[in-house]
């Protein structure tokens, strides 16, 4: 899932400067992340009102990254949108851009920061799992991804900073290489780590910009 976090409200006020706003949410990831579902939109509307910014209307797109759905759903809110000075989008970075393809004459304000493609561990506890590199190599690493989960993206890890299973950059972050090591050890296949992994082919992540 695409993990988002709502922007700090004061910063958001600075970006909005002046209302009224029309608020757009998303039925998928942003709803699950509790950053852009119906509940969050209603709360946002109230918070804005307390700061003298009115809301002309709102909609939860289904989902925001779907261009044809956006066109259809936003058409129904044409009048409310036209009355707004700003469009506040509570969806991922993709949702913001799909909306900006449909609504062209009004300033678009992203209301969330898009963090990563990650796992929902528990409610409101998410962890990065993938950077969408276009060339999955998890078969080499026991089904875990050192590119997205090692802060140095090492393919021949661990580095010299792995301590007690934790990463050197934060003791709240598991060292992914320690996890790979433990999985291989359990299987009795530690020798697989001795093979030198070649440099990654990053061209796969840039050439696959579009799939028809």
């Amino acid at each position: 899932m695409i993990i988002t976090k709502q922007k700090d409200f004061d910063n958001l006020l600075t970006s909005i400067t002046k209302g009224p706003v029309f608020i757009i949410g998303c039925s998928e990831c942003a709803t699950l992340c509790k950053t852009g579902g119906e509940d969050e939109i209603v709360k946002m509307k109230e918070d804005l009102r307390k700061n003298n910014i009115e809301t002309t209307g709102w909609v939860v797109l289904d989902p925001a990254c779907h261009l044809q759905n956006d066109k259809r759903l936003l058409k129904k809110h044409k009048n409310e949108i036209e009355k707004a000075k700003k469009i506040l989008v509570l969806a991922c970075g993709n949702g913001v851009q799909t909306v900006s393809e449909v609504i062209k004459n009004i300033d678009i304000i992203p209301g969330t920061d898009t963090l990563f493609l990650g796992e929902i561990k528990r409610l409101s506890d998410f962890e990065k799992r993938c950077i969408m590199c276009g060339d999955c190599i998890q078969d080499l690493f026991e089904g875990v991804c050192p590119i997205s989960r090692c802060p140095k993206s090492m393919l021949n890890g661990p580095c010299g900073g792995s301590i007690d299973g934790k990463c050197e950059i934060s003791n709240e972050l598991d060292c992914i290489w320690d996890i790979i090591y433990k999985r291989l050890k359990e299987k009795g296949q530690l020798k697989r780590l001795k093979e030198i992994k070649k440099p990654k082919d990053w061209s796969k992540s840039t050439e696959m910009r579009r799939i028809l």
Partner: protein
């Protein structure tokens, strides 16, 4: 036998080599690095010029290496994967080689979050093992990483790598060394040693696999200058192992600098006796002027 560098010759002839680290200045004044170089010049065989160590911006390792090369010192230019992709890394190896730099040490690099520009984007296109393999292939086969041919001059590099015998999982540490040797490392500098028992355990395994015959190992020595430094190294520097007894010894010392110096002397004395260790690498952080005393009192002077 033609050797690429004095360091290669010393190590190949079985002499106990000394390398010392010279940290470039936070600025463009060449006199800073020249002064440090003058202090340590006669007391080591080659000198590591660090590459923005701990991710703090300093004069570049290429620039620093050229400065000391012009003073008649032999540099070991450090190159990390943090700030450059494979294009820039290979280009810097060629540029350094063209300027007469023979020894290079390849590292993955400290994460940018530790430095003075934590907002920077880390590159990490390669890791150290991949870079070592690429440089070996450039040197021996005249091939760039892409497979493209080098057209005019393979870089004649004496390839160095780092090893940390103290990191976790400990079981992998010798495997990791073996991987660096297989990738192409000619010499190894280890993390600073304070835990001799653990270092000995690591070296026992190194010798049992015959790795000391395939690579030259220089043991890391960092004299502790103050309690603050001891505590920083013990509690905050990733991958450094200062055992409690050494920490207490420093804490209870009447004269901390003297205790730190004596401890370094003892470590050198013990390390000299370990089979398979071919030299020491001294990193005297903000304490370069201690190096001449350490080397002399360890009976390792003069350097010939």
């Amino acid at each position: 036998m033609m050797y690429r560098s004095k360091l290669e010759r010393f190590l190949s002839e079985g002499k106990f080599a000394i390398t010392a680290e010279i940290g470039p200045p936070k600025g463009s004044d060449p006199n800073k690095i020249k002064d440090k170089a003058k202090t340590v010049k006669s007391y080591a065989d080659a000198f590591n010029i660090t590459d923005n160590q701990t991710a703090v911006v300093r004069l570049s390792s290429l620039g620093g290496s050229i400065i000391i090369l012009n003073m008649g010192l032999e540099p070991i230019m450090q190159i990390t994967c943090r700030d450059r992709n494979r294009i820039a890394l290979q280009s810097d190896v060629l540029g350094a080689s063209a300027n007469g730099i023979k020894n290079m040490l390849f590292l993955t690099g400290d994460h940018q979050l530790f430095g003075n520009h934590p907002n920077a984007k880390g590159v990490f296109d390669l890791d150290s093992i991949q870079l070592i393999q690429i440089v070996k292939n450039m040197r021996d086969n005249g091939i760039f990483q892409s497979g493209d041919k080098i057209l005019s001059g393979n870089p004649d590099v004496y390839i160095g790598a780092a090893a940390n015998p103290f990191a976790d999982p400990f079981e992998l540490r010798v495997d990791h060394l073996e991987k660096k040797i297989e990738a192409g490392a000619d010499f190894i500098q280890t993390q600073s040693i304070y835990n001799l028992d653990k270092f000995n355990t690591w070296m026992d395994e190194v010798r049992s696999r015959g790795l000391d015959k395939k690579v030259h190992i220089l043991a890391g020595i960092t004299p502790l200058k103050s309690l603050k430094m001891t505590e920083r190294m013990k509690f905050h520097v990733p991958g450094v192992d200062i055992p409690d007894n050494i920490y207490h010894r420093m804490k209870n010392a009447a004269d901390i600098k003297e205790e730190g110096y004596n401890l370094a002397l003892e470590l050198i004395d013990n390390i000299k006796k370990i089979k398979g260790v071919h030299g020491i690498h001294i990193t005297a952080l903000f304490w370069e002027d201690i190096i001449p005393y350490l080397v002399k009192e360890s009976g390792l002077y003069p350097r010939l």
